[in-house]
């Protein structure tokens, strides 16, 4: 089996790690290959678009080991292609979310956007207890994220998520603030 897939494209996409080689012939008519991909081709009426004027075909040469299955091939604009693209994007987002959650919930370069110094939040009254619980000295920067999670800055400049602020307070609720700023929205 050839170690490449044939993908008709309307433009030259840029995929990292993948070589796309324009060809000046209709590879779907090549002996043997055409039948391989016909199982993925859309119904009558769409098939003729494969050879329409201006259509480019690219030779997709993925780096694969062994005899892994050939990816499906769909024509642009067809429902099958839209479904395939949509599912691929969703899968990519899911992977990204997992990676993002891991990074954001353990160690990240900085707390999430919108995080505030703890003394500017309703958790200010719990500042001392939280600082002891997460074991940081006086110069340690502690922030509360918009989702009420405790973040501290590490000596190397990275930040660590210590979990929900409510778990550091006996009542699970913020200890509040005192003085003129007590009722200020943050």
């Amino acid at each position: 089996m050839a170690d490449y897939s044939l993908v008709p494209v309307d433009y030259q996409p840029d995929f990292p790690g993948i070589s796309l080689v324009p060809v000046d012939y209709d590879p779907f008519d090549a002996g043997g290959l055409g039948s391989q991909f016909r199982t993925n081709l859309p119904a009558a009426g769409v098939e003729s678009d494969r050879t329409r004027a201006g259509q480019q075909y690219a030779q997709y040469a993925p780096r694969r080991l062994g005899m892994s299955p050939v990816p499906p091939v769909f024509l642009p604009g067809t429902p099958e292609n839209d479904a395939f693209v949509s599912s691929t994007i969703k899968a990519g987002r899911a992977v990204g979310n997992v990676i993002g959650n891991v990074l954001n919930s353990d160690t990240a370069s900085r707390p999430p956007a919108g995080s505030r110094p703890i003394n500017e939040t309703p958790w200010s009254g719990d500042h001392g207890n939280i600082k002891e619980a997460i074991q940081v000295p006086g110069n340690g920067d502690v922030r509360i994220s918009p989702t009420d999670e405790v973040w501290s800055q590490n000596p190397d400049g990275s930040s660590t998520n210590h979990g929900p602020a409510g778990t550091f307070a006996g009542s699970g609720q913020p200890g509040g603030r005192r003085g003129k700023d007590r009722d200020r929205q943050w």
Binding site: E132, P164, R178
Partner: protein, 146 residues
Amino acid sequence: MVTEEKAGDENRMLRYKIRVLIKHPNIDPARITGVLGLNPSVTATAGGARKTPTGRLLPGVHKVSAWTHSYTVRGHRHFFSRIEETITKLESHKAFLAEISDGDGVIYLIVDLLGKTNIGDVLSWQAMMRLSALHINLSIEVFPDS
């Protein structure tokens, strides 16, 4: 003139916390407890599971070991006197503290000043020398809303 009743109220509002915090790349916190003979309020072991105070598991593991001993003092103004008492306790373990410091560990003696009541004290140069000899960093922080 300050009445006795008002002075009593202010005394009751005087609060501070003394914390001994030790951080080290990989020491077993139980060893610190055993050597210093002080009960920790919080510990963490490098490579160990991370948990919230309520026991909920957090992603990742502790990057370093950490050990904290703390106690709160009420109605007493001169917080550096408690610092000096703590120095005296730690001086008998000077070799162990040097081992921690030499092993890329950091030792803090922390005063947390709680509340908005006026409080102040003086740390003598002699006490500072004793801290320095033990490679202990002094940390002071105010928590006005606590």
